[in-house]
């Protein structure tokens, strides 16, 4: 024990140091390690969560992209189909309209021809009649001055038959 006194060991001092260090231990544990380890753990947890979330988001993004591509493809396919069918329809309609127009035109032309023919006949008939009257008048006037009754009659008949021959 003599050596311990030489080293300055004194029970009271020893106890004071023990109490002192015990206080330090508990104070540091309560006010130092606890909040710091808590914040460290929290951060670790948060980083893990963030990483997990990032993975999830990436996955979702890929899914969405895939879906978008599919939708776009479908849309373009539909659009193509619609355009093709519209083109066909248009072509058909055009053909129909053209056909109709041609038919109408032909009909009209035929009508017009008929009419012209009828008019022509009508005019010919009228001309015939008028010419007959005129000739009769002329013959009447000429014959009335120069010819005898018999000759008059004969000439009239001849002329009439002649005219009739010309007309028919």
């Amino acid at each position: 024990m003599e050596i311990l006194t030489r080293f300055g060991i004194e029970p009271k001092l020893l106890l004071a140091q023990i109490v002192n260090f015990t206080i330090i231990l508990f104070v540091l544990k309560r006010f130092f390690y606890k909040p710091i380890t808590k914040v460290l753990d929290d951060r670790k947890k948060r980083i893990e969560e963030s990483l997990k979330n990032a993975d999830l988001i990436e996955e979702k993004l890929a899914q969405t992209e895939e879906k978008t591509t599919k939708l776009l493809e479908e849309a373009s396919e539909t659009a193509r189909e619609m355009i093709t069918s519209a083109n066909k329809e248009a072509q058909r309609t055009t053909e129909e309209v053209l056909l109709e127009a041609r038919k109408t035109q032909e009909e009209l032309v035929a009508d017009a021809k008929d009419q012209i023919e009828a008019q022509k006949k009508e005019m010919q008939k009228q001309l015939e009649r008028e010419t007959l009257i005129l000739v009769t008048e002329v013959v009447k006037k000429v014959l009335a001055r120069n010819l005898k009754q018999d000759e008059k009659k004969k000439l009239t008949r001849d002329a009439l038959s002649e005219i009739g021959k010309h007309i028919h």
Binding site: L4, T5, R6, F7, G8, I9, E10, K12, L13, L14, L15, A16, Q17, I18, N20, F21, T22, I23, I24, L25, V27, L28, K29, F31, F32, Y33, P35, I36, T37, K38, V39, L40, D42, R43, R46
Partner: protein, 244 residues
């Protein structure tokens, strides 16, 4: 000027004799706790200032403890870290200028002796012995907590004569742990104090002590680490379930 083995008594508070090393211990305690409180005053998810330092230190110790005792790291870390920080702060505080050099002359046994006001805390055997005792008590307390009283006693006392002898040896070993822990720390830091005092008083006070100061910075860290590591190893061994 000489460094005495025992810490010098400054004054008395009631029955308690206050030595210069006890006074320094109180100052170190205040500094350490102030640092702890300042660092954790505003704990934020994004660390700032002192919180960064605290996080780095605690995370390093936590990793160290986890590598040796993964399942008990949560219980061990505060104790190990406290030993480490207290010893480290004490050692470095003892290196500050003024510690060991500021003092006054005192009449003792008819002789005039120089009494420094502050003394590196671990160059007093009272401090290191107190640390060793706390370390041992904590170790045994945790051993009882983890093993239960029966298994704890079985570690030392057995009906088998061979294991009884082994247990007896282990009991002696536990007692020598206090001696080895306290004297190792005390010896290293006291030697450092003597070395620095000699270098700056007997040799030359300028430039020459500088390399020794770097040496002491290293020693101060290493000794703190050794004490903490040994405590950690003792705890791990004693709280482990024995084979027999």
């Amino acid at each position: 000027m000489e460094v005495t083995l025992a810490a010098e008594k400054l004054f008395n508070i009631g029955a308690l004799p206050v030595t210069n090393s006890l006074l320094t211990t109180w100052i170190v305690t205040i500094v350490l706790i102030s640092f702890a409180i300042l660092a954790t005053k505003k704990v934020t998810a994004v660390p700032k200032g002192l919180q960064n330092v605290a996080e780095i230190m605690i995370e390093a110790i936590q990793d160290l403890v986890s590598s040796i005792a993964p399942d008990k790291a949560k219980i061990f870390t505060p104790i190990i870290a406290s030993f480490f920080f207290f010893i480290l702060f004490g050692n470095y505080f003892g290196l500050l200028p003024g510690v060991g050099t500021i003092g006054f002359h005192m009449e003792e046994h008819g002789e005039k002796v120089f009494v420094p006001l502050f003394r590196s805390i671990n160059s007093d055997l009272n401090t290191t012995a107190a640390l060793a005792i706390v370390s041992l008590i904590a170790t045994h307390f945790l051993a009882i907590r983890y093993l239960g009283l029966l298994h704890y006693i079985q570690k030392f006392i057995s009906l088998n004569p061979i294991f009884l002898f082994v247990g007896l040896l282990e009991l002696i070993g536990e007692a020598t742990k206090i001696l080895s822990l306290s004297f190792r720390l005390f010896g290293n830091i006291f030697a450092g104090e003597v070395l620095l005092t000699t270098a700056s008083t007997k040799l030359f006070a300028f430039l020459i002590p500088i390399p020794f100061y770097f040496l002491e910075i290293l020693v101060g860290f290493v000794q703190a680490l050794i004490f903490a590591m040994l405590t950690l190893v003792f705890m791990t061994i004693l709280t482990a379930k024995s084979e027999h």
